[in-house]
Symmetry: C2
Subunit: 332 residues, 2 copies
């Protein structure tokens, strides 16, 4: 690993200038400081993993995800992470980010500049600029729902999507459903790929055909129900599994609008178990993601990475929550 | 979850008798005590997850694995687990087990009877009697290299075999090898399945053919080299990837005996990086499993399960350790 002296040699400046740049001293220019930081990152210098409490700073980056109120997906994740981190005397900053921000500032440089020992990232997409940088980052990094091969500083954390979708299919099959539709999330996402594979395998394992007319990608947009539910119903669907709870609400509304009752004519299953899912009409059967536990776990793994335990992947169990949007199939 | 009263009702005995049975009091018969414990387990009673230090007992079960000396695979696993557990004021017992022992005593009953709050199991095979019981155990349970679907009390911990074998294939391909053989571990094992799939995918991804003559199962027995190496060499193998370091030693000896020099004529890669691998002649290139870190991690996850974080799977990164048993391919 590069030392401060290596960085000084590369830049042709003194060790104390590099040290000032890394420590955010006020008596060097912003420009020189940025140069020191970028060079440090390029050369693989990483912040000392100090045990001093005053240096115990970590952060959560959030993109494409709401977390301000208890109804929102990210709320319990942030809460669980903070609860666990505070208990171990870390300070935690929450930093909303955009694609533009990622283009402007390198990931490692940002952490180094701000004294963070590591981070937890929620909601990033495959095409985000930082995703490429994670392949070589030297910073302890936890990614929610995204995996990076071979870098021991990066860990993938998520819910076991495979088991979740299997639970959903089996629940409908046990209720006598045979025409089961799947309105997945976004195309080109690791989570959607896992769920698609799980859906097809679960259908095969109970000898049900995999029908193109009964599968679509809804991009986690409630509105997508409008485009896909008519086709599902025309193809004879009696059960519909959805990529999240909000899509499921859209699907239930669309079914009702077209004269199909939920659950008498069509059973609907969501994913996530947002607090609001129990208040839908009818209350939603769904696959629960344990978000508080995911947040607590994210801290635990980040702490492990900081202590050089190279965890690459941690999955949590999903849980089938049976409510009133699913019922025995009435059609033969 | 069943209460002490439920158990008393089922057995037609008093609550205090059940309590005595669960707590190991001396004034009830062994027979009655066993009956209380078996009924408690059957009804889903689980020990209170107490925070009192005097109850902080966990254990490691070991089967088919040596751990007494630093040379052996299990040594660092046990050490890492204990280091971490002791730091958090748990006592740890190491319990060697056999298939016969598992037939005699139910897993949950054993833990309940001995006051263990959870366990870490190393070296169990798919056909072991306890494997079936893990599907319904209420005890926090970490399995090294085995997975149980859907039970939130059981977690699979291991090295990412997929990434490990991919690193091995890519290393040989980068050295110009095209005829790459794979001497896998045991048939009917989850780890071997993962490695086999990884091997075939890695070969495909570099457009190399998958040849039946270049693949076999060696059952982690060094002697297996004798049976398979002649066939590999006859089929033109210039590189051989092995299921562990001891097989790799057998393979190197067999190559030498048949007039093939390692690494000049044949490159050999092991798996695990036992301490002894660096002392082989030539020193062995191998895929390292971070055993101390796996042990530390096993404690961390067990602690998470005890605190109701339903982790189903945790994988650690393997690492390619380049030594002298691999070299550029000399044949075209």
């Amino acid at each position: 690993m590069a030392t401060i002296k290596d960085i000084a040699n590369r830049l042709g400046v003194s060790v104390s200038t590099v040290s000032k740049g890394l420590n955010g001293a006020s008596d060097i220019s912003d420009e020189l400081r940025q140069m020191v930081l970028d060079t440090a990152v390029e050369m693989g210098y990483s912040t000392k993993r100090s045990k001093k409490v005053e240096n115990r700073k970590i952060c959560i980056f959030v993109e494409n995800m709401n977390y301000d109120t208890i109804d929102e997906f990210g709320y319990d994740l942030v809460l669980g992470f903070k609860q666990n981190a505070f208990r171990h005397k870390w300070s935690v900053d929450i930093i909303p980010i955009t694609p533009a921000f990622q283009e402007e500032e390198k990931y490692d440089t940002f952490l180094l500049k701000n004294g963070y020992c590591g981070s937890f990232l929620m909601g990033l997409a495959l095409h985000d600029a930082w995703m490429k940088q994670f392949e070589n980052t030297t910073m302890p990094t936890i990614l929610l729902d995204n995996a990076i091969p071979e870098n021991p500083n990066v860990c993938y954390l998520g819910t076991d999507n495979y088991e979740g979708i299997t639970l959903a299919v089996r629940h409908l099959v046990n209720l006598g459903h045979k025409k089961i539709a799947f309105l997945n999330g976004s195309l080109y996402s690791m989570v959607s790929d896992q769920r698609q594979e799980a859906f097809e395998n679960a259908m095969e394992s109970v000898s049900l055909p995999i029908e193109k007319d009964l599968m679509a990608y809804g991009y986690y947009v409630s509105d997508s129900a409008k485009y896909h539910v008519p086709g599902f119903l025309a193809a004879g669907a009696t059960g519909i599994i959805c990529g999240n709870d909000l899509i499921a609400r859209g699907v239930m509304e669309e079914c009702t609008k077209r004269g199909f009752k939920v659950p008498e004519d069509v059973s609907v299953i969501g994913f996530d178990d947002l607090p609001i899912a129990a208040a839908f009409d009818p209350p939603l059967t769904t696959i629960r993601q344990e978000r508080n536990e995911l947040g607590r776990c994210a801290y635990d793994i980040l702490n492990s990475l900081i202590h050089h335990i190279p965890i690459s992947k941690t999955l949590l169990r999903p849980k089938l929550i049976e409510r009133e949007s699913t019922a025995r199939c009435s059609r033969s």
